[in-house]
Protein backbone atom coordinates (compact mmCIF):
# COMPACT_ATOMS: atom_id res chain seq x y z
CA UNK A 1 0.00 0.00 0.00
CA UNK A 2 3.05 2.26 0.14
CA UNK A 3 2.69 2.79 -3.62
CA UNK A 4 -0.52 4.77 -3.21
CA UNK A 5 0.95 7.09 -0.57
CA UNK A 6 4.25 7.38 -2.44
CA UNK A 7 2.19 8.37 -5.50
CA UNK A 8 0.30 10.91 -3.46
CA UNK A 9 3.59 12.34 -2.18
CA UNK A 10 4.95 12.69 -5.73
CA UNK A 11 1.76 14.48 -6.73
CA UNK A 12 1.69 16.82 -3.75
CA UNK A 13 5.36 17.73 -4.19
CA UNK A 14 4.72 18.57 -7.85
CA UNK A 15 7.16 15.86 -9.00
CA UNK A 16 4.52 14.26 -11.22
CA UNK A 17 1.25 15.58 -12.63
CA UNK A 18 -2.11 13.93 -11.97
CA UNK A 19 -2.41 12.59 -15.57
CA UNK A 20 1.17 11.19 -15.41
CA UNK A 21 0.40 9.45 -12.13
CA UNK A 22 -2.94 8.10 -13.35
CA UNK A 23 -1.26 6.70 -16.46
CA UNK A 24 1.52 5.10 -14.39
CA UNK A 25 -1.03 3.48 -12.03
CA UNK A 26 -2.79 2.12 -15.09
CA UNK A 27 0.45 0.94 -16.75
CA UNK A 28 2.11 -0.55 -13.70
CA UNK A 29 0.36 -3.91 -13.93
CA UNK A 30 2.56 -4.68 -16.96
CA UNK A 31 5.77 -3.35 -15.41
CA UNK A 32 8.69 -5.49 -14.37
CA UNK A 33 11.14 -3.86 -12.00
CA UNK A 34 14.68 -3.73 -13.34
CA UNK A 35 17.94 -4.09 -11.47
CA UNK A 36 18.72 -0.35 -11.57
CA UNK A 37 15.63 0.71 -9.65
CA UNK A 38 16.00 -2.18 -7.19
CA UNK A 39 19.66 -1.29 -6.55
CA UNK A 40 18.84 2.40 -6.07
CA UNK A 41 16.12 1.48 -3.58
CA UNK A 42 18.43 -0.81 -1.63
CA UNK A 43 21.18 1.82 -1.64
CA UNK A 44 23.57 -0.54 -3.48
CA UNK A 45 24.00 1.76 -6.47
CA UNK A 46 23.55 5.47 -7.11
CA UNK A 47 21.39 6.78 -9.94
CA UNK A 48 24.60 7.99 -11.61
CA UNK A 49 26.06 4.47 -11.59
CA UNK A 50 22.82 3.08 -13.01
CA UNK A 51 22.80 5.65 -15.83
CA UNK A 52 26.43 4.84 -16.59
CA UNK A 53 25.74 1.12 -16.82
CA UNK A 54 22.77 1.72 -19.13
CA UNK A 55 25.09 3.66 -21.43
CA UNK A 56 27.66 0.88 -21.34
CA UNK A 57 24.96 -1.70 -22.01
CA UNK A 58 23.92 0.08 -25.20
CA UNK A 59 27.39 -0.65 -26.61
CA UNK A 60 27.95 -4.23 -25.39
CA UNK A 61 25.73 -7.29 -25.38
CA UNK A 62 25.79 -8.02 -21.65
CA UNK A 63 23.29 -8.06 -18.86
CA UNK A 64 23.01 -5.02 -16.59
CA UNK A 65 23.88 -7.10 -13.53
CA UNK A 66 27.04 -8.52 -15.09
CA UNK A 67 28.23 -5.07 -16.11
CA UNK A 68 27.52 -3.67 -12.65
CA UNK A 69 29.51 -6.49 -11.02
CA UNK A 70 32.41 -6.09 -13.48
CA UNK A 71 32.50 -2.36 -12.75
CA UNK A 72 32.68 -3.17 -9.04
CA UNK A 73 29.52 -1.20 -8.25
CA UNK A 74 27.76 -4.18 -6.72
CA UNK A 75 28.55 -7.78 -5.80
CA UNK A 76 26.99 -10.76 -7.53
CA UNK A 77 25.48 -11.78 -4.17
CA UNK A 78 23.71 -8.40 -4.02
CA UNK A 79 22.42 -8.88 -7.57
CA UNK A 80 21.03 -12.31 -6.67
CA UNK A 81 19.47 -10.91 -3.51
CA UNK A 82 17.74 -8.06 -5.37
CA UNK A 83 16.44 -10.26 -8.16
CA UNK A 84 15.18 -13.01 -5.85
CA UNK A 85 12.91 -10.72 -3.82
CA UNK A 86 9.32 -9.98 -4.80
CA UNK A 87 9.41 -6.30 -5.81
CA UNK A 88 7.34 -3.95 -3.64
CA UNK A 89 4.46 -2.12 -5.27
CA UNK A 90 5.98 1.36 -4.74
CA UNK A 91 9.05 0.24 -6.69
CA UNK A 92 6.85 -1.00 -9.53
CA UNK A 93 5.21 2.43 -9.58
CA UNK A 94 8.65 4.10 -9.59
CA UNK A 95 9.87 1.83 -12.38
CA UNK A 96 6.76 2.66 -14.44
CA UNK A 97 7.38 6.39 -14.02
CA UNK A 98 10.99 5.87 -15.16
CA UNK A 99 9.85 3.73 -18.13
CA UNK A 100 7.29 6.38 -19.10
CA UNK A 101 10.09 9.01 -19.07
CA UNK A 102 8.29 10.97 -16.35
CA UNK A 103 11.26 10.57 -13.99
CA UNK A 104 14.96 9.99 -14.63
CA UNK A 105 16.77 7.49 -12.41
CA UNK A 106 18.28 10.45 -10.54
CA UNK A 107 14.88 12.07 -9.95
CA UNK A 108 13.47 8.74 -8.79
CA UNK A 109 16.40 8.27 -6.39
CA UNK A 110 15.95 11.75 -4.91
CA UNK A 111 12.16 11.44 -4.58
CA UNK A 112 12.41 8.01 -2.97
CA UNK A 113 15.08 9.10 -0.48
CA UNK A 114 13.17 12.29 0.36
CA UNK A 115 9.99 10.29 0.87
CA UNK A 116 11.70 7.76 3.13
CA UNK A 117 13.37 10.43 5.26
CA UNK A 118 10.18 12.54 5.33
CA UNK A 119 8.32 9.57 6.83
CA UNK A 120 11.33 8.22 8.76
CA UNK A 121 11.11 4.93 6.89
CA UNK A 122 13.86 2.46 6.12
CA UNK A 123 13.82 0.14 3.14
CA UNK A 124 12.84 -2.82 5.32
CA UNK A 125 9.97 -0.74 6.77
CA UNK A 126 8.53 -0.43 3.31
CA UNK A 127 8.74 -4.09 2.39
CA UNK A 128 5.75 -6.20 3.15
CA UNK A 129 2.60 -5.06 4.81
CA UNK A 130 3.75 -3.35 8.00
CA UNK A 131 0.55 -2.13 9.56
CA UNK A 132 2.19 0.06 12.22
CA UNK A 133 4.24 1.92 9.59
CA UNK A 134 1.21 2.30 7.34
CA UNK A 135 -0.80 3.66 10.23
CA UNK A 136 1.90 6.23 10.91
CA UNK A 137 1.96 7.36 7.28
CA UNK A 138 -1.81 7.57 7.26
CA UNK A 139 -1.95 9.52 10.53
CA UNK A 140 0.68 11.98 9.23
CA UNK A 141 -0.91 12.22 5.80
CA UNK A 142 -4.33 13.10 7.16
CA UNK A 143 -2.92 15.11 10.09
CA UNK A 144 -5.24 13.34 12.48
CA UNK A 145 -2.79 12.95 15.34
CA UNK A 146 -4.10 14.52 18.50
CA UNK A 147 -7.76 14.18 17.57
CA UNK A 148 -9.64 12.40 20.36
CA UNK A 149 -10.70 9.56 18.02
CA UNK A 150 -7.39 9.57 16.10
CA UNK A 151 -6.61 5.92 16.86
CA UNK A 152 -9.89 4.65 15.51
CA UNK A 153 -9.83 6.91 12.46
CA UNK A 154 -6.35 5.70 11.57
CA UNK A 155 -7.30 2.05 12.03
CA UNK A 156 -10.46 2.59 10.00
CA UNK A 157 -8.64 4.28 7.12
CA UNK A 158 -5.75 1.80 7.08
CA UNK A 159 -8.24 -1.04 6.75
CA UNK A 160 -10.21 0.92 4.14
CA UNK A 161 -7.17 1.24 1.89
CA UNK A 162 -6.36 -2.45 2.33
CA UNK A 163 -9.93 -3.37 1.43
CA UNK A 164 -9.92 -1.04 -1.59
CA UNK A 165 -6.77 -2.76 -2.83
CA UNK A 166 -8.23 -6.20 -2.09
CA UNK A 167 -11.73 -5.75 -3.50
CA UNK A 168 -11.68 -2.81 -5.94
CA UNK A 169 -8.14 -2.27 -7.25
CA UNK A 170 -4.80 -0.71 -6.37
CA UNK A 171 -4.83 2.00 -9.06
CA UNK A 172 -5.73 4.88 -6.75
CA UNK A 173 -4.15 7.89 -5.10
CA UNK A 174 -5.29 9.07 -1.65
CA UNK A 175 -6.03 12.82 -1.83
CA UNK A 176 -5.95 15.41 0.95
CA UNK A 177 -8.91 15.11 3.30
CA UNK A 178 -11.10 18.01 4.36
CA UNK A 179 -13.38 18.80 7.28
CA UNK A 180 -16.95 19.30 6.13
CA UNK A 181 -20.28 20.12 7.78
CA UNK A 182 -22.41 18.95 4.88
CA UNK A 183 -22.24 16.89 1.71
CA UNK A 184 -24.24 16.72 -1.49
CA UNK A 185 -23.31 14.00 -3.95
CA UNK A 186 -25.18 12.38 -6.83
CA UNK A 187 -24.95 9.09 -4.95
CA UNK A 188 -24.34 8.43 -1.28
CA UNK A 189 -24.49 5.10 0.53
CA UNK A 190 -24.26 5.48 4.29
CA UNK A 191 -24.17 3.13 7.23
CA UNK A 192 -24.20 3.79 10.95
CA UNK A 193 -21.62 2.06 13.14
CA UNK A 194 -22.71 2.05 16.78
CA UNK A 195 -20.63 1.38 19.86
CA UNK A 196 -21.34 1.77 23.58
CA UNK A 197 -19.73 5.19 23.69
CA UNK A 198 -20.28 6.75 20.28
CA UNK A 199 -22.35 6.35 17.13
CA UNK A 200 -20.57 7.05 13.87
CA UNK A 201 -21.77 7.48 10.35
CA UNK A 202 -19.75 6.19 7.40
CA UNK A 203 -20.51 6.87 3.76
CA UNK A 204 -19.31 6.23 0.21
CA UNK A 205 -20.17 9.04 -2.21
CA UNK A 206 -19.52 9.77 -5.87
CA UNK A 207 -20.91 10.91 -9.18
CA UNK A 208 -23.04 8.40 -11.05
CA UNK A 209 -20.49 7.36 -13.69
CA UNK A 210 -17.88 6.69 -10.99
CA UNK A 211 -20.49 4.90 -8.86
CA UNK A 212 -21.19 2.45 -11.68
CA UNK A 213 -17.49 1.86 -12.31
CA UNK A 214 -16.87 1.25 -8.60
CA UNK A 215 -19.71 -1.30 -8.56
CA UNK A 216 -18.34 -2.95 -11.70
CA UNK A 217 -14.97 -3.44 -10.07
CA UNK A 218 -16.40 -4.87 -6.84
CA UNK A 219 -19.00 -7.12 -8.49
CA UNK A 220 -16.73 -8.17 -11.38
CA UNK A 221 -19.72 -7.73 -13.68
CA UNK A 222 -20.40 -5.41 -16.61
CA UNK A 223 -22.85 -2.75 -15.44
CA UNK A 224 -24.18 0.29 -17.30
CA UNK A 225 -26.97 1.95 -15.34
CA UNK A 226 -27.16 3.04 -11.71
CA UNK A 227 -29.97 0.65 -10.77
CA UNK A 228 -30.83 -1.24 -7.58
CA UNK A 229 -28.13 -3.79 -8.29
CA UNK A 230 -25.45 -1.06 -8.45
CA UNK A 231 -26.79 0.42 -5.18
CA UNK A 232 -26.71 -3.01 -3.56
CA UNK A 233 -23.17 -3.60 -4.77
CA UNK A 234 -21.70 -0.35 -3.46
CA UNK A 235 -23.75 -0.85 -0.28
CA UNK A 236 -22.27 -4.31 0.16
CA UNK A 237 -18.73 -2.96 -0.20
CA UNK A 238 -19.39 -0.50 2.65
CA UNK A 239 -21.06 -3.21 4.73
CA UNK A 240 -18.20 -5.64 4.13
CA UNK A 241 -15.56 -3.06 5.04
CA UNK A 242 -17.42 -1.83 8.14
CA UNK A 243 -17.99 -5.45 9.16
CA UNK A 244 -14.29 -6.29 8.93
CA UNK A 245 -13.55 -3.13 10.94
CA UNK A 246 -15.87 -4.01 13.80
CA UNK A 247 -14.67 -7.63 13.82
CA UNK A 248 -11.09 -6.37 14.24
CA UNK A 249 -12.18 -3.99 17.00
CA UNK A 250 -13.94 -6.88 18.74
CA UNK A 251 -11.04 -9.31 18.41
CA UNK A 252 -8.20 -6.90 19.18
CA UNK A 253 -9.70 -4.56 21.75
CA UNK A 254 -12.76 -6.42 22.99
CA UNK A 255 -14.85 -3.48 21.73
CA UNK A 256 -18.31 -4.51 20.67
CA UNK A 257 -19.96 -2.51 17.89
CA UNK A 258 -22.98 -3.05 15.69
CA UNK A 259 -23.97 -1.99 12.18
CA UNK A 260 -27.29 -0.69 10.93
CA UNK A 261 -28.72 -1.41 7.48
CA UNK A 262 -27.40 0.96 4.78
CA UNK A 263 -29.31 3.99 3.53
CA UNK A 264 -29.17 5.52 0.07
CA UNK A 265 -29.28 9.28 -0.58
CA UNK A 266 -29.31 10.86 -4.04
CA UNK A 267 -28.38 14.48 -4.86
CA UNK A 268 -29.60 15.74 -1.49
CA UNK A 269 -27.76 17.93 1.00
CA UNK A 270 -26.78 15.92 4.09
CA UNK A 271 -25.89 18.04 7.16
CA UNK A 272 -23.42 16.93 9.81
CA UNK A 273 -23.91 18.34 13.32
CA UNK A 274 -20.43 17.32 14.38
CA UNK A 275 -17.39 17.75 12.18
CA UNK A 276 -17.11 15.15 9.46
CA UNK A 277 -14.04 14.16 7.43
CA UNK A 278 -14.24 13.74 3.68
CA UNK A 279 -11.48 11.46 2.41
CA UNK A 280 -11.24 11.52 -1.40
CA UNK A 281 -9.63 8.59 -3.18
CA UNK A 282 -8.74 9.24 -6.83
CA UNK A 283 -9.16 6.08 -8.89
CA UNK A 284 -8.20 5.94 -12.55
CA UNK A 285 -11.96 5.89 -13.32
CA UNK A 286 -12.81 8.86 -11.04
CA UNK A 287 -12.84 10.07 -7.45
CA UNK A 288 -14.68 8.26 -4.67
CA UNK A 289 -15.31 10.10 -1.39
CA UNK A 290 -15.41 8.35 1.97
CA UNK A 291 -17.02 10.32 4.79
CA UNK A 292 -16.59 9.63 8.49
CA UNK A 293 -18.43 11.46 11.22
CA UNK A 294 -19.65 11.11 14.77
CA UNK A 295 -23.38 11.41 15.17
Amino acid sequence: MFAQFFGSYLLNEGIVTAPQLAKALEDKKNTKTRLGVLAINAGYMTAGQVEFIHQVQSTVDKRIGDIAVEMGFITSEQVDELLSKQPQDYLILGQTLVNNNVLTNAQFEKALNDYKSFNALSESDMSGDKTDKLEKIIADFYKINGHEDAGEYVTYLTLLFKNLIRFVGDDFTPMTASIIDGANYENMVRQKVNSETVDSCTAVCCDTDVYIKFAERFSEEKLDTADDFVNATVGEFLNLHNGLFIVNQSNEFGKEMTLEPQEFVYSTEVKYDKAAVDVPVAYSFGTVHFILSNV
Binding site: I246, N251, P261
Partner: protein, 125 residues
Amino acid sequence: MTINEVTVMVCDDSMFARKKLTNYILSLGVKACYEAEDGEKAVDNYKEYKPNIVFMDIVMPKKTGIDAVKEIIGFDPDAKIVMASSVGTQNHLKDAINAGAFEFLQKPISNEQVQKLIETVAEGE
Protein backbone atom coordinates in the same frame (compact mmCIF):
# COMPACT_ATOMS: atom_id res chain seq x y z
CA MET B 1 -29.12 -37.36 0.04
CA THR B 2 -27.17 -36.31 -3.06
CA ILE B 3 -26.35 -32.66 -3.74
CA ASN B 4 -29.00 -32.42 -6.49
CA GLU B 5 -31.71 -33.21 -3.96
CA VAL B 6 -30.66 -30.46 -1.53
CA THR B 7 -32.75 -27.30 -1.12
CA VAL B 8 -31.13 -24.09 0.10
CA MET B 9 -32.27 -20.64 1.21
CA VAL B 10 -30.15 -17.45 1.08
CA CYS B 11 -31.26 -14.52 3.29
CA ASP B 12 -29.50 -11.19 2.79
CA ASP B 13 -30.86 -7.67 2.34
CA SER B 14 -28.21 -6.95 -0.30
CA MET B 15 -29.41 -7.96 -3.75
CA PHE B 16 -25.77 -8.14 -4.76
CA ALA B 17 -24.83 -10.52 -1.92
CA ARG B 18 -27.89 -12.72 -2.61
CA LYS B 19 -27.22 -12.92 -6.32
CA LYS B 20 -23.56 -13.78 -5.85
CA LEU B 21 -24.20 -16.53 -3.32
CA THR B 22 -27.30 -17.90 -5.07
CA ASN B 23 -25.54 -18.10 -8.44
CA TYR B 24 -22.72 -20.08 -6.90
CA ILE B 25 -25.04 -22.43 -5.01
CA LEU B 26 -27.12 -23.09 -8.15
CA SER B 27 -23.91 -23.87 -10.03
CA LEU B 28 -23.34 -26.77 -7.59
CA GLY B 29 -26.48 -28.40 -8.99
CA VAL B 30 -28.78 -28.16 -5.96
CA LYS B 31 -32.51 -28.83 -6.39
CA ALA B 32 -33.60 -25.30 -5.44
CA CYS B 33 -32.26 -22.10 -3.93
CA TYR B 34 -34.83 -19.76 -2.37
CA GLU B 35 -34.14 -16.14 -1.44
CA ALA B 36 -35.28 -13.75 1.28
CA GLU B 37 -34.40 -10.04 1.60
CA ASP B 38 -35.15 -9.55 5.30
CA GLY B 39 -35.62 -11.53 8.51
CA GLU B 40 -39.42 -11.63 8.26
CA LYS B 41 -39.38 -13.05 4.76
CA ALA B 42 -36.76 -15.58 5.88
CA VAL B 43 -39.09 -16.99 8.56
CA ASP B 44 -42.08 -17.08 6.16
CA ASN B 45 -40.05 -18.77 3.41
CA TYR B 46 -38.60 -21.31 5.82
CA LYS B 47 -42.07 -22.35 6.94
CA GLU B 48 -43.21 -22.65 3.35
CA TYR B 49 -40.22 -24.44 1.77
CA LYS B 50 -38.41 -26.12 4.67
CA PRO B 51 -34.97 -25.89 2.96
CA ASN B 52 -32.25 -28.34 4.05
CA ILE B 53 -29.78 -25.52 4.74
CA VAL B 54 -30.09 -21.75 5.24
CA PHE B 55 -27.44 -19.04 4.80
CA MET B 56 -28.45 -16.06 6.95
CA ASP B 57 -27.09 -12.49 7.10
CA ILE B 58 -27.34 -10.64 10.46
CA VAL B 59 -27.82 -6.93 9.73
CA MET B 60 -31.15 -6.74 7.88
CA PRO B 61 -34.19 -4.47 8.01
CA LYS B 62 -37.51 -5.48 9.65
CA LYS B 63 -36.05 -8.42 11.57
CA THR B 64 -32.37 -9.19 12.22
CA GLY B 65 -30.87 -12.50 11.19
CA ILE B 66 -30.40 -13.48 14.86
CA ASP B 67 -34.13 -13.01 15.60
CA ALA B 68 -35.02 -14.90 12.42
CA VAL B 69 -32.82 -17.83 13.53
CA LYS B 70 -34.59 -17.94 16.92
CA GLU B 71 -38.01 -18.09 15.24
CA ILE B 72 -36.97 -20.69 12.71
CA ILE B 73 -35.43 -22.89 15.42
CA GLY B 74 -38.62 -22.44 17.47
CA PHE B 75 -40.57 -23.76 14.52
CA ASP B 76 -38.07 -26.47 13.54
CA PRO B 77 -35.38 -27.33 16.15
CA ASP B 78 -33.48 -29.37 13.53
CA ALA B 79 -33.11 -26.47 11.08
CA LYS B 80 -29.57 -26.16 9.69
CA ILE B 81 -28.71 -22.47 9.67
CA VAL B 82 -25.34 -20.95 8.78
CA MET B 83 -24.79 -17.30 9.65
CA ALA B 84 -23.16 -15.60 6.64
CA SER B 85 -22.43 -12.10 7.78
CA SER B 86 -19.97 -9.23 7.66
CA VAL B 87 -20.22 -8.75 11.43
CA GLY B 88 -18.56 -11.76 13.10
CA THR B 89 -17.86 -9.92 16.36
CA GLN B 90 -17.65 -11.98 19.53
CA ASN B 91 -21.11 -10.87 20.70
CA HIS B 92 -22.66 -11.71 17.35
CA LEU B 93 -20.96 -15.11 17.31
CA LYS B 94 -22.31 -15.85 20.79
CA ASP B 95 -25.80 -14.62 19.89
CA ALA B 96 -25.85 -16.69 16.71
CA ILE B 97 -24.77 -19.89 18.43
CA ASN B 98 -27.22 -19.31 21.31
CA ALA B 99 -30.01 -18.73 18.79
CA GLY B 100 -29.26 -22.11 17.22
CA ALA B 101 -27.02 -21.46 14.19
CA PHE B 102 -24.56 -24.30 13.62
CA GLU B 103 -21.85 -22.40 11.73
CA PHE B 104 -20.65 -18.81 11.22
CA LEU B 105 -19.07 -17.55 8.00
CA GLN B 106 -17.41 -14.12 8.01
CA LYS B 107 -17.80 -12.17 4.75
CA PRO B 108 -16.17 -12.25 2.25
CA ILE B 109 -17.37 -15.84 2.00
CA SER B 110 -15.32 -18.30 0.00
CA ASN B 111 -17.08 -20.65 -2.40
CA GLU B 112 -15.19 -23.62 -0.96
CA GLN B 113 -16.67 -23.01 2.50
CA VAL B 114 -20.18 -22.88 1.05
CA GLN B 115 -19.68 -26.04 -0.98
CA LYS B 116 -18.29 -27.93 2.03
CA LEU B 117 -21.25 -26.98 4.23
CA ILE B 118 -23.82 -27.98 1.60
CA GLU B 119 -22.03 -31.31 1.13
CA THR B 120 -21.92 -31.90 4.88
CA VAL B 121 -25.66 -31.29 5.19
CA ALA B 122 -26.37 -33.52 2.17
CA GLU B 123 -24.37 -36.38 3.74
CA GLY B 124 -26.20 -36.00 7.05
CA GLU B 125 -29.73 -36.11 5.62
